[in-house]
């Protein structure tokens, strides 16, 4: 076994921790902890971006690290915590699939994304190309988190975690997206979050709960 340079070792470790956090989010039932895990995932992303920026000397990666720090580590979790407090939702109801089964599906997803990412990794020329599989897995697991939850709040957290995975994928495949795309995505996420925050109140006012099951029935049926 040849030893990797230490920064690549650290990046691999960060990638592995991101995957671990995705699984932690998949199993977490308390919404407050879910938001904290999201903030932690953002923080890991910031460290990974900074490390990559230092390694490649790419100026714009520093900017995107700052953006991630501000948006995903501080602002969005703060906003979510405020919403949780004001809406009074602390627990998600029992997920649609039980935890152990969800975990097993998660493991299958990781295997699937590994297969999916292998040809892409073979084509990429970056030093972090092995992490593409992990990024795909983070995206799909976040998707699974959204599918298995009923409360609108946890679905939004899943959505944001998906965005984290996407960001990490872009970083490991091509050392980050072009600045303009990154700014656009950040703005999109921010606006989506603000709009969803308003939505939450509307949903609750209409149905007296944040359970999305209510949205499935048509008005005429009631």
């Amino acid at each position: 076994m040849t030893a990797l340079p230490w920064d690549l070792q650290l990046l691999n470790t960060l990638a592995a921790l991101l995957l671990l956090l995705s699984f932690a989010m998949l199993s977490q039932r308390r919404i407050v902890s879910l938001v904290n895990l999201l903030a932690l995932q953002g923080a890991l992303l910031v460290v990974a971006t900074l490390l990559l920026a230092w390694r490649t000397g790419d100026r714009h990666l520093y900017v995107s690290a700052t953006l991630t720090l501000g948006l995903k580590v501080f602002f969005l979790p703060w906003l979510l915590h405020r919403l949780i407090r004001r809406l009074g939702v602390y627990w998600d109801t029992e997920p649609l699939l039980n935890i152990t089964a969800t975990m097993l599906v998660g493991v299958l997803i990781v295997i699937f994304s590994f297969g999916l990412a292998q040809p892409i990794s073979a084509l990429a020329s970056t030093a972090t190309r092995n992490s593409i599989g992990i990024a795909v897995a983070v995206i799909l697991i976040a998707f699974l988190t959204m599918i298995t939850r009923r409360k609108a709040m946890s679905q939004v957290v899943g959505f944001l975690s998906m965005e984290n995975g996407l960001f990490f994928g872009a970083m490991s495949a091509t050392y980050g997206m072009p600045m303009i795309v990154e700014l656009g995505v950040a703005l999109d996420v921010l606006v989506a979050m603000l709009v969803l925050g308003v939505f939450f109140f509307q949903i609750r006012e209409q149905f007296d709960s944040l359970d999305l099951k209510n949205l499935e029935s048509l008005k005429e049926d009631q």
Partner: protein, 315 residues
């Protein structure tokens, strides 16, 4: 075979037999310190075993031969396991004779006999303990196997001494797959040795207990052997952990100086590991029995994640 190697092998087994109760005593002592209690002597497990050997054995009327046989089988399995695990040196005759999968099988044999003996007399407590033990076992075993697969994948062998040699020769590096599996292994160790998040080793006659319930019908020399075997099991697990995760300093040649160094380092590792174990037990609370599968599923998940990360990132 070199007679010196056999001598070292015998020395290793003797060391395991002697060190196991002291290690248990050390864990108990650290636990008492951390919980602000006055600590019992580290030799207490010895005194217990000696006292039990001097007592007259009482055996239930309807106990079959299996009940008498089980302590010797369990103790024998643990001693064999201690011989297989490379604790002080890797180039030893018995240590090289079996691989890690055989070792897991050996530990499973001990568990089966322990559970059968507990059910043999037909008391409610014994049966209850046996069932719980099997439940924990069937969840912990796959996790342990996956842990071994991860290191086997990294070293291209399932033989523990080879694994220890390859890993100790390798330069120090940050390996996420090994870190994950180390967490998984620690959780399996806690569950398999009836330590706190899963079972409480300090209680008797409590509805949540597992290990003590298995031994309720035993007395005198049988009980002494069972308790010694339990101490050996903890020691064995600790040594598997050392061989796989912190193998540095293990003797790979057959010189007396490297051997002495290896024994001294083993002592240091045991002291640190014992304190760590006591610390984990102090900061965590006992789980309800029904939550134990979740605990072990988490261990399994960590191990599988280690395996996947190993395959994905190659580190």
């Amino acid at each position: 075979m070199n007679p010196f190697d056999w001598l070292v092998q015998l020395l290793g087994i003797a060391l395991a037999l002697i060190a196991a109760p002291v290690f248990l005593g050390w864990v108990n002592k650290c636990r008492a310190w951390l919980q602000n209690r006055s600590a019992p002597s580290v030799w207490l497990p010895y005194r217990g075993i000696r006292k039990l050997f001097h007592k007259e054995a009482v055996i239930a009327e309807n106990a079959s031969r299996l009940f008498r046989l089980a302590p010797y089988v369990v103790f024998g399995a643990m001693v064999t396991a201690a011989a297989i695990i490379p604790s002080i040196a890797t180039r030893l005759p018995i240590t090289q004779a079996a691989d890690a999968i055989a070792l897991v099988g050996l530990l499973a044999t001990a568990r089966v006999f322990l559970s059968l003996a507990a059910m043999d007399v037909g008391t409610a407590f014994g049966t209850l303990g046996a069932r719980r033990e099997m439940m924990i076992g069937f969840l912990a075993e796959p996790a342990l196997l996956v842990v071994i697969f991860v290191v086997s994948l990294a070293c291209a062998t399932t033989a523990l001494p080879m694994i220890a040699e390859r890993l100790s020769a390798q330069a120090l590096s940050l390996t996420p797959s090994l870190a994950f599996t180390a967490v998984a292994f620690t959780m399996v160790l806690l569950a398999e040795n009836a330590r706190i998040p899963v079972d409480n080793p300090a209680t008797h006659l409590e509805l949540t207990m597992i290990h003590e319930a298995l031994l309720l019908e035993y007395s005198a020399r049988h009980l002494a052997l069972m308790e010694w075997a339990a101490a050996l099991k903890l020691f064995n697990y600790a040594c598997i952990g050392f061989a796989v995760f912190i193998p540095w300093g293990i003797s790979t040649g057959n010189s007396a100086t490297s051997l002495a160094e290896s024994v001294a380092l083993l002592g240091v590792k045991l002291l640190v590991a014992g304190f760590g174990l006591a610390f984990i037990e102090t900061v965590s609370a006992k789980l309800r029995v029904f939550r134990a599968p979740e605990f072990l599923a988490t261990a399994f998940l960590f191990a599988v994640l280690g395996l996947l990360v190993r395959l994905l990132l190659g580190s």
